[in-house]
Amino acid sequence: MSDVLHDLNVESLRKEFPILSQNVHGRPLVFLDSAASAQKPRTVIDSMRFVMESQYANVHRGLHYMSEKTSDAYEAVRDKVAGFLNAASRDEIVFTRNGTESINLVAYTYGRTALKPGDAVAVSAMEHHANLVPWQMLRDAHGTELRIVEITDSGEIDFESLERVFADGKVKLLAVTHMSNVLGSYTPVERLAAFAHERGARILIDGCQAIVHRKVDVQAMGADFYVFSGHKLYGPTGIGVLYGRAELLEAMPPFLGGGDMIEHVSFEKSRWAKPPHRFEAGTPAIIETIGLGAAIDFVNEIGFPAIAAHERALTEHALSVLGNIEGLRILGQAQDRGGVVSFTMRDVHAHDIATLLDRQGIAVRAGQHCAEPLMGRMGVTSTARASFALYTLPREIDALAEGLLRIQRMFA
């Protein structure tokens, strides 16, 4: 397997992640649940500690040293994120709690002003609940329609279904994942963006999974909105990002009201601040934003070419080792797929798999993965899911396969 590691010195990278040397149930931890949330490198942990130990105060409103330093550090991450996504301007970057809040922000503000009752929002059949439920809520509150773009059996966007969904011209927003958290499929976002734009619709891309594995260029892909969470990108919890094209953000009303999002307040009326501050009410997640900055530096330093190559090799390895296990079914066979592998095993329930692997120190996820409708589409009630990060080793995938065989023997 040495070629897998060609670009990335994983063993040495792993030393940056203190948690990876833990034991679980007396066995070395094999953490294959990074798609739910990634572990944190030392530099992220240290950056957060550094702020709290030596340079902390509330941001934006202070005229003293600590506040200015903290504001500078906080706002510098906005520049960093803008660069990371290749946004045209730092003002297109809004900080939220997580990808879920980012999508809800768009549903509440853009959704209730730019979209009119009778307009339709289209989502794919493989969305995470975070990119489905907000549009259901918008439908029920605002009278928009919600339409589903089918996926093929291999787990890719069905372009014929897409055509049908857009045929009557009512769809004004396509909200679609950049990578499925269940099937691992990437979606062709450039093509989807062009498709939507040609038909006068906007596109929101849920990048919660993809952002970890690929270089994202929001301008090149034609994203109107792009969202992700810090905690999956080796950053802290409590911080997420919404990218929105300047022209769209400027036309949107605020989401939450409070300090820092207004120009002027009287009892009668308030005048909103410009984006992005219009959308950041109250004291933001200062420490976590700074932690996210450290995470982006960490990822940038390694570089996406190496990360992507490593991930591709791991995924191929996983597909081949798991594919050899009799009675094991891998969900989805997209051409373009990333480091997430969901599977079922004959006669063994996914929850039993997860519990029994855990007793061997191996962490995988089992259940519906917040994608209940997709489970129905794929004809399963739940799956087990192994997901990979830049610190994942091929031998951890081997350990998974051995663990699964052991479980099969128990259930035989």
């Binding site: 329930h349 929850h351 039993d352 519990t355 519906q368 489970m375 259930f411």
Partner: protein, 134 residues
């Protein structure tokens, strides 16, 4: 306390349940669903003689728990069933086995797996429903 929730008895009853059927004289039914996984158990109850059967779809823990429950309650009174349920819930939480629970003690290992306890208690919820509906 036995730390392994997958004892031989559990494996056996999950593979070859003895009570996976609708008993003769069924006059009440109940259902339990686990939203996390979509697992479901449907309980059939013939109140005369407290005969219980089940139709279950789910993990080994759920299947075995449903089957062991059906066995354990057979012939008991309504009050005895509720007492057994209380004891069972306590045992699953604490891991403390109790002679009165008999074969149900096989599930004591769940105490170290809080997220899986619901799999074992779901059949009992369905049975409660059947008893209260009936």
């Amino acid at each position: 306390m036995n730390a392994d929730p997958y004892q031989a008895l559990v494996m056996e009853r999950s593979r070859k349940p003895l009570f996976a059927r609708r008993p003769h004289g069924t006059d009440a039914e109940g259902e339990g669903r686990n939203r996390m996984c979509g697992d479901a158990v449907h309980v059939f109850l013939a109140r005369a003689g407290m005969h219980v059967g089940h139709e279950s779809e789910g993990c080994a823990i759920l299947l075995a728990s449903a089957d062991l429950m059906a066995e354990a309650v057979a012939g008991k009174s309504r009050d005895e069933v509720f007492e057994l349920q209380r004891d069972f819930l306590a045992m699953v939480k604490t891991g403390q086995e109790k002679p009165a629970l008999g074969a149900l003690n096989a599930l004591a290992g769940l105490a170290s797996f809080p997220a899986r306890q619901r799999c074992a208690t779901l059949p009992w919820d369905a049975l409660s429903e059947a008893l209260n509906n009936g």
